[in-house]
Amino acid sequence: MTRVVAPRARRFGAARGVSVAVALVGLGIAGYLTVVHYAGSAPVCAIAHGCATVQKSAYADLAGVPVALLGLLGYLAILGSLAGDGERARTLTAVLAFSGFGLSLWLTWIEVGELHAICIWCVGSALCMTALAGLSAVRLMSP
């Protein structure tokens, strides 16, 4: 017997697939920033953009943990939560994505308002978190 998937359900299934893809992009960005953070002496203070400025600022750590590493762990956790599609898994994805989105907003504000430096990688990660927050809200509202 062929199982018929309703268009609405297919749309929400696609949201999960897109979430996985976006989370993988975010994971790549956070992984790169984590490597740069621990490489220490590799980054320079670039005139063209502010990644080194941001990475070397006091805001680059949260209670001693590099923000880049927190991002990496966050994306891994989101990917883990996307393995399931039940109510609990969707709620967990949403909590993680909303938290990542909120913290990304705060850190972007710090870049612009405090450090006067924009790190394009951080902006990329913030966009991923924004997309994940939107997608997880859609999944949470789905039947």
């Binding site: 005139i47 006091a58 705060w106 949470l140």
Partner: protein, 221 residues
Amino acid sequence: MSQAPRRLLAALGASAVLVAAGVAVSASGGTGPAPPAPPASATFRGIPEHDGVLGDPKAPLTLTEYVDLQCPICAEASKQTLPWLVEQYVRPGKAKLELRTLHFIGPDSERAAHVAAGAEQQGRLWPFVEAFYAAQGQENSGYVTDAFLRSVAKAAGVDAGKALAAADGELALRRLERADADATRLGVNATPTFTVAKGDAAPTVIGSGVLTHAKLKAALR
């Protein structure tokens, strides 16, 4: 209320708590006054400095470093590279060192660069820069106050009053303009960047960042 909006609200609530905690921790760690400058080291002791040029003016090699005083990697290079360069090349008269102070990170960089130019007029640019790095604070936090600069000047053996007065002068402004012009001409787009000139030849870029001794050795051959 149906299940879906309730789940959404619960997720938003839990996230708000997590975000608030993260922001609180982040905000508490981001500010704070810069520490006072420790006394200057012996790195430059006994080496002549004229118009910001450290070492024998007739030395065959001219090594120029492009910096922003707020740049943490410049501070790292100052600790890891400069003492070695001074001992191996400047003190024996093989090379002289020049500095170009850029100010792209923010307003604190610009104020610092101006006062560094004031210290240069007293023949104490290099000790001033070293003392500045030792007390370097949070970028663009407004830490480069007159009190901070006085503390740095004192540690570097610079007359703070004269340096601050000279910072607003024409000579200091010309120093900053020369640094910008040289950086543009050579395509310097990061700090610290090192260049080398052999004799009267045009300078060439060695590289940016904390350069290894081997790389510098090869460039200064």
